[in-house]
């Protein structure tokens, strides 16, 4: 077993440091070392998006990033989304639209939606469908998820 690596990063706005094995993915570090289990493992090879997090402003699958790679980086996960004023607009519109059934893909979709709307605050239905193609949902048929993301757009606009 190789020696553990010391990593310092910013996680959900707070400084964080941890030791991890070089072979551990960011998803393993988040879930097993930092006990943040909101990011889910659906495939562990970058195909389902259940572990979507935002790394230095970019949407990534945490299962195909190594924990050691985030040294000096900024990471946002589902756990950091709720502000002092309550739920993030996307969290609220997902609830109002019944955009989740089992809920396992929900954290990933909300993070994907956040990354999209930061880039493209007026994303169309087509934009959302294209962007979210990296996130699999088996329950909803995506209809209500797409609507939830569209519904969050005006609310995020107001928040600005």
């Amino acid at each position: 077993m190789a020696a553990k690596v010391h990593v310092t990063a910013t996680l959900n706005g707070e400084p964080v440091e941890f030791l991890c094995e070089p072979r551990q993915s960011l998803l393993e570090v988040l879930r097993d070392e930092l006990k943040l289990t909101g990011s889910k493992e659906g495939c562990n090879n970058g195909n389902c998006g259940a572990c979507s997090v935002i790394l230095d402003g970019l949407l990534v699958d945490a299962c195909i990033v190594l924990g050691a790679e985030i040294d000096g980086c900024t990471v946002e996960t589902i756990e950091g989304l709720m502000g002092s004023d309550g739920l993030h607009p996307l969290q609220q519109t997902f609830l109002e639209n019944a955009a989740l059934q089992c809920g396992i893909c929900t954290p990933g979709f909300i993070m994907a939606g956040k990354a999209l709307l930061e880039k493209n605050p007026q994303a169309s239905e087509g934009d959302i469908r294209h962007w979210c193609a990296g996130n699999l949902c088996r329950c909803t048929g995506y209809d209500k998820i797409v609507r939830a993301i569209m519904d969050a757009e005006p609310q995020l606009e107001v928040k600005k």
Binding site: E21, R23, Q24, R31, K35, L36, T37, G38, S39, K40, E41, G42, C43, N44, N45, N47, C48, A50, T77, I78, E79, L81, M82, L87, Q91, F94, L95, E96, N97, A98, L100, Q101, C102, G103, I104, C105, T106, P107, I110, E125, I128, R129, H130, C132, A133, G134, N135, L136, C137, R138, C139, T140, G141, Y142, D143, K144, I145, V146
Partner: protein
């Protein structure tokens, strides 16, 4: 973007009648699930917990000659290693499957871990518990297994051949109740006969005979299976499991490990999708044995490859169908042979395929022959409307072919033959009140169907579907709190918002806001026996238990108020959360006021309810789809999709729509892309989400929904199960749409681009 609509014949009446039912409250577990706080199977963390990993067969079919675990046991960090030898001898023990009777336990044990023979690629053969998942994986590589590789049989028809390799040397066909003399891969042959086929075909003006095939497809839930076990030295075993049925897990683990039910507690975690696939046990008994051996808690989590290789796909199938119709389109006879792959052990869901196949239609003369066939694939499990898509696909495609030949409208042929209350089904049971006609009429009249489709290579398809639904046993415990709210404990795991659809039915009885009901899904020690979340039964049956609990609390409150006011209880009523006298003295108090008073006095108000309702009704759906086919690449694009379905009564319309939309999209995946690819050695070649291609958001339009409400007389609020039937029509609807777009009829699923191109070039 087209709006989702609810078309309920009795909507106005419903709006007046109900305060809570038919509204769209935010689900009780919603905040946990949008903040990442909800605890799913793999999220369980216990002090001192070890990680279990399973070694799997690299062969599709092989005798296990020996297993040597010594090197794995010696690896630093490894705390326990197990094989099937660590399970108690299944010997002559049997498992009780309720109405299916007693079945031998050995196949169930062997599927969890192979004892003498691996019967599919990925079959579990040994397992390791270690201090980290990586060490456990390394240890798997140190286990030495000696195999004698045998030829596999991968296709249902080949498996039925006389000279096929045998998956089990000791399997004999149950041939219409008689045991066959020679071993075979055919586990059983059963038959339903109604009327007289020869008379029926003699009355037909047109007869078609065709073959239809479905590839093996997987449920595709995003959360892999996960089980954590803690076996204490006092013999008590606690398990945290992502499952559709905590009590089912308890029964299965009790049977496999031969330990008393009373020493086994199953705590269901949140469940990240199941669709029927999270009913059987896989890693649960393994985690338990590893925990006993290591004397520490052990978590066994599958990866995606394991999920595809070793957990329940649904049956690949072969269907031969012959139907006759008159010039007017009346179906006079139908004869079918259904052969379903069971996977490595007997027990496909061919029986339900047979029961549902002709259920949407009233046909006087039918014969259904059903074959349950073992092949070297994973043991199949239920998948949404299990058995029905495979068989109904054939009927719905053939009806469309008749329509085309006879110049009939697809809706009219369905209305002409549509099943009604009292019609005798093909297995001899009369239909209860069902909404076939009302649903088809709503589909015929909807804006989508009434709008012409234009453009080259475009076509519109129609298909219907039927699913039997289920009742089964459900329990809840409800208790009034001192602030007038009600805690509601239930045994049904919540896969899609059922905490809320159940709570709404209790809230309706008491006339309180649904937010004042606090539902929780509890462990097997904390609520009465409850069957699986499946069969479209939870909102129906567990909702009924909650309704009964509401009624019990209501009558207790009325009695208590009568006592307080010193009047007869007949002179007290409760409505909209307020208790009033009906004798003219105008006394009243809210439930909250009475609850506070009773709480101070130490009077407990609550109820424990268990129901096993029988009259679950049937679910019926008709779908309309527009497609465009690219003749060069064979790619089929879904342009527009409308699902129309009888929900009986939509308790929470958003989640009814969600079930319809989700079922449609699984059906679209089944129709166009999804399939298991095995190589000639029987090895699964596409066990990842990249290669097993499920629909993404980019592949789809919005899925329009129309809810029809033909109340089920077998439920206090008229509820019918809604979850399963929407997966039935899409495959045929799309095949029919392709036929009308480019003139080729496809009877083999999936209708992947290469299949479409091949059919187009064969045509030209």
């Amino acid at each position: 973007m087209n709006p989702t609509q609810t078309m309920a014949p009795a909507q106005t009446e419903v709006e007046q009648k109900y305060k809570v039912i038919g509204t769209r409250p935010i689900r009780h577990d919603g905040v946990d699930k949008v903040t990442g706080r909800a605890v799913y199977g793999a999220d369980v963390q216990l002090p001192g917990m070890l990680h279990g990993k399973v070694l799997r067969s690299p062969h599709a079919h092989a005798n296990i000659k020996s297993i040597n675990t010594a090197k794995a046991e010696a690896l630093y960090g490894v705390k326990a290693v197990m094989t099937a030898a660590d399970f108690p001898d299944s010997g002559s023990r049997t498992a009780n499957l309720g109405e299916l009777g007693e079945v031998p336990l050995k196949p169930m044990c062997d599927n969890v871990m192979a004892s003498d023979k691996a019967v599919y690629h990925g079959h579990a053969v040994a397992a390791v518990a270690a201090t980290s998942p990586h060490i456990a994986e390394e240890a798997l590589g140190l286990i030495e297994v000696e195999y004698e590789v045998l030829p596999p049989v991968m296709d249902v028809l080949k498996a039925m051949d006389e000279d096929s390799p045998l998956v089990h040397e000791d399997l004999y066909t149950d041939e219409l109740g008689e045991k066959s003399a020679k071993p075979s891969n055919v586990a059983s042959h059963t038959r339903h006969v109604k009327g007289d086929l020869s008379q029926g075909f003699a009355a037909a003006d047109h007869v078609l005979e065709r073959e239809y095939r479905c590839a093996t497809v997987h449920q595709g839930y995003i959360e892999p299976h996960a089980a954590t076990a803690m076996w204490n030295p006092d013999g008590y075993l606690t398990m945290w499991v992502t499952t559709q049925g905590a009590f089912t897990v308890r029964t299965s683990v009790h049977q496999i490990l031969d330990i008393p039910v009373s020493k086994l507690k199953v705590i269901p975690t949140e469940i990240g999708g199941g669709f029927g696939g999270k009913i059987p046990v896989y890693g649960e008994p393994v985690a338990a044995v590893l925990s006993r051996k290591a004397r520490r808690p052990v978590k066994v989590v599958m990866d995606r490859t394991e999920v595809f290789q070793a957990t329940g796909p649904t049956s690949g199938s072969y269907v031969k169908l012959k139907m006759g119709v008159t010039n007017q389109g009346r179906i006079t006879a139908a004869e079918t042979m259904l052969a379903y792959e069971a996977g490595g052990y007997p027990g496909s869901i061919v029986a339900l395929g047979g029961i549902c196949m002709f259920a949407p239609y009233n046909i006087d003369n039918t014969t259904i022959d059903m074959y349950d066939v073992v092949v070297n694939k994973p043991k199949t499990a239920a998948y949404r409307a299990p058995g029905a898509p495979n068989s109904e696909f054939a009927v719905e495609c053939m009806l469309d072919e008749f329509c085309e030949r006879l110049g009939l409208d697809p809706m009219e042929i369905r209305l002409l033959n549509g099943a009604k209350e009292g019609d005798i089904q093909s297995h001899g049971i009369p239909h209860p009140r069902i909404g076939c006609i009302e649903t088809t009429e709503a589909a015929r009249d909807c804006e989508h169907y009434q709008t012409p489709l234009e453009g080259p290579n475009r076509g519109r398809g129609v298909a219907s579907g039927y699913w039997v639904n289920a009742g089964l046993t459900s329990s809840v415990t409800a208790r009034l709190n001192g602030d007038g709210t009600v805690t509601l404990q239930e045994g049904s795991t919540d896969i899609g918002g059922t905490r809320t659809s159940i709570a709404m039915q209790l809230a309706e009885v008491l006339g309180i806001p649904v937010e004042d009901v606090v539902p929780s899904v509890v462990d097997t020690d904390s609520v009465g026996y409850t069957e699986v979340t499946g069969g479209s039964r939870v909102t129906f049956a567990t909702g009924w238990a909650a309704y009964n609990a509401g009624q019990a609390i209501k009558s207790q409150l009325i009695e208590q108020a009568a006592d307080l006011w010193k009047v007869d209880k007949d002179q007290v009523s409760l409505a909209d959360g307020v208790i009033t006298t009906t004798n003219g003295d105008s006394r009243s108090m809210t439930i909250k006021e009475l609850a506070a008073d009773l709480s101070q006095k130490g009077i407990d108000v609550g109820s424990r309810e268990t129901v096993t309702p029988q009259n679950h009704g049937g679910a019926y759906a008709t779908h309309v789809v527009d497609v465009e086919v690219d003749p060069d690449t064979g790619k089929v694009t879904i342009l527009r999709y409308t699902a129309v379905q009888d929900a009986g009564r939509a308790i929470h319309p958003s989640y009814v729509e969600g079930q319809m939309q989700g079922g449609v999209v699984q059906g679209i995946g089944w129709a166009l892309n999804e399939e298991y690819f095995y190589n000639e050695d029987g090895l699964l070649m596409n066990s990842s989400f990249l290669d097993y291609r499920m629909p993404t958001s980019l592949d789809l339009p919005m899925i329009e929904t129309i809810i029809v409400e033909v109340p089920n007389p077998g439920h206090p609020y008229g509820v019918r199960g809604v979850g399963e039937v929407p997966i039935v029509p899409p495959q045929a609807a799309i095949s029919n749409a392709i036929a009308r777009a480019v003139g080729v009829r496809l009877g083999d699923l999936p209708m992947s681009p290469q299949t479409v191109v091949k059919a187009l070039s064969a045509k030209s």
